[in-house]
Amino acid sequence: MTSTSTAHGVSGNTEVVISGVGLAVPGITFPDELLGAVREGGFDPHTGLTGREMRHKDRASRLALRAAEPALRDAGLHDGKAFTGDGDTTAVVVSSNFGILDSVCAFADVIARDTVTGLSPLGLPQTSSNVIAGSVAMRHGLRGPSVTLCNGPTSGLDAVYWARGLIASGRAETAVVIGVEPSGDAVTKLLGEPVFDGAAALVLEARDRGARPRAVLGAGAYARGADPSAAVAAALGGRSPDAVSLWLPGEDACGGGGAGPAYGLTARLGLCSGALGVLQCAAAVAYFDRHAHEDAAVLASAGGPADDAAAALLLTVP
């Protein structure tokens, strides 16, 4: 295998960029609102998750579909009617820790009360966490690799890392990455508070496809390890922490001390869990849209000492 980047070749050096962002976040319309911009209106799950195409879908799939389409439009891969890219080379990567937890618990309740004959056959897809990725792939005809990560607090950043990897390995030329956490009684009971009940979506592409780059994901710009500070240092790859223009910390704000001004997304959104890393990347794009100076860099981190690991991702200006 050569080291050059070809349609099906492998290269560790492929430059992968974020070319589109879409949100289905309560009260928010555009990514800059993640960083404090204020507009009227915004997404409302009570009214925004209805419609014929949402019928029989689980809540996480509906949120994901609401985020994916604007991301594809933003990347110029959707004309308002249909996906216009190459379905065979487009991957879907989803991160969700609690995506089907409420369905699973509800089905167990029904069985206990009514036996299996009380279950709806339409619930079958919702017994597998990859229902969300399947829903998005089916809606837009995305036939590349389909990957679902349920990987704890770092899951969203991990999903971005693996989506990048699918492009770098030549398995895909484009990837739709979605972070989603639907609210529900079981999730609230498990966490002790509700999750944010929303989704964020990114489109990743190899830069040489002619995409309009909004943020760059370099090779080696991601690390996952036991020590949050070490993960950040590895993601910085020799850069000084002073070079970070903005730090988007995880839910327990570990590991990025000294790395730029911190802006916590969860103060406004609440617990984002598996969606957090994707939301952080969406916020980074919004930052670069406003601050296009050539050495702008945004650090996203997640996970802390109480977790199985911490992860960090450095995004740079295109």
Partner: protein, 388 residues
């Protein structure tokens, strides 16, 4: 590039190691038994291929999928002669249900559950110091998907050694919803036989150590089999039903990546889930893919041998593809292919396929293909090569 399988571990209803499982398969010994996990009066189907390790009969306990995962990984590391320290080694776990069963027991019966219990990195950190851990909830193609991504990691130089694993324990909501939708009530999983009535779940975990082939010959280094390629894709067609187009694409992609022709394949480890839809779709696709080309004879008696381990292990869900791969590695080495248990009258689409029936077949085998398909329309196919 190729990748070496240097360690293997597995637990299933029919055995506690890869060798035990392979011996049971060759002897035609099934793990089928009455459903132990749940109150059987709530279900139509009352059979499954469970691991019989619950401390009290009739009472389920949380954390079993995690426990078997630890066991399979430990076996694979020991088998590879590696220390049980994975601080620098990525561990990629494919699963359909994660620890869904533990969540059900928490919700219904009040057993303890914390959010970190739902992904496997927590237990892998505690047992092996692993922190480059990833739980892929990729339905029943999950562990071969994880293998594909492991080969990518090694190819781009992000790792030299990766542990790939799969694990699943039977869960109520998944077992129950499947039970609800199957028209017939299967009393056994009988892939490709006209009497097939559907899928029955099994339990188990599996792990392999995947390593970059050394630049220079390494005397004493044991290699079970060599991974030539793994193809992965998505049908984008139906939430749960297989699609012949997507399956054809993934098989041809695996062959192309491996640089092999259909005629080079000696053995196919079928997905073979025993649902009428899977069996007719998979058999139909393979009949076309392996149809004798010009100059390859008349096709009579030609084509690879085929078998389906789910006829004895049940459908072990996320780990099933990798379990088939471990069985393939042993079959290649020993030149023995387990039969499809219960197969006497193949479905029409499988009429031209060389499905092993009755007793184990012996043959000289060089290359094996492993199929794994899952909900969400996801497909994976791996090609592995014998190491002599």
């Amino acid at each position: 590039m190729t990748w070496d399988i240097t360690g293997m571990g597995a637990v299933a209803s029919i055995g506690g190691t890869p060798q035990e499982i392979f011996a049971a398969l060759c002897a035609g010994r099934s793990g089928l038994a009455g459903l132990r996990a749940f109150d059987t009066t709530k279900y139509r189907a009352r059979q499954a291929y469970e691991i019989d390790d619950r401390p009290r009969p009739g009472a389920d306990e949380p954390g079993r999928a995690t426990r078997w995962l630890r066991e399979a990984v430990a076996q694979a590391l020991t088998d590879a002669g590696l220390p049980h320290d994975l601080a620098d080694v990525p561990v990629l776990v494919g699963t359909t249900l994660q620890e869904q069963r533990s969540a059900e027991l928490w919700w219904r019966e009040g057993t303890r559950l914390a959010p970190p219990d739902l992904h496997f990195g927590t237990a892998l950190r505690a047992a092996f110091g692993a922190t480059r851990t990833y739980t892929f909830a990729n339905a029943c193609a999950a562990s071969l998907y994880a293998l594909a991504m492991a080969t990518d990691l090694i190819e781009v130089g992000a790792a030299d050694t990766v542990v790939v694993a799969g694990t699943d324990a039977i869960g109520e909501s998944a077992f129950g919803t499947l039970d609800r939708v199957q028209n017939d009530i299967p009393d056994a999983l009988r892939p490709f036989d006209r009497s097939h009535k559907g899928m029955l779940m099994g339990e188990g975990a599996v792990a392999v150590v995947v390593q970059r082939a050394p630049a220079a010959p390494a005397p004493g280094r044991r290699v079970h089999a060599r991974v030539r390629a793994v193809g992965i894709n998505c049908d984008a067609h139906h939430p749960t039903a297989p699609d012949p187009g997507g399956i054809t694409r993934v098989v041809r992609d695996a062959h192309r990546r491996a640089g092999v022709a259909p005629g080079d394949i000696d053995l196919v480890m079928l997905h073979g889930s025993g649902t009428p839809k899977n069996d007719t779709t998979e058999a139909g696709v393979l009949a076309q893919v392996f149809a004798a080309g010009p100059g390859e004879g008349d096709g009579a008696g030609g084509g690879p041998l085929m078998t389906a381990v789910k006829s004895m292990t049940g459908h072990t869900l996320g780990g099933s593809g990798l379990l088939s791969l471990v069985v393939a590695a042993l079959a290649l080495r020993q030149g023995t292919v387990p039969p499809v248990l219960g197969l006497t009258d193949p479905v029409e689409e499988a009429a031209g396929l060389r499905l092993v029936q009755g007793t184990a077949a012996t043959a000289d085998l060089g290359l094996a293909q492993i199929d794994a398909f899952g909900f969400g329309g996801i497909n994976a196919a791996a090609i592995v090569e014998a190491v002599r």
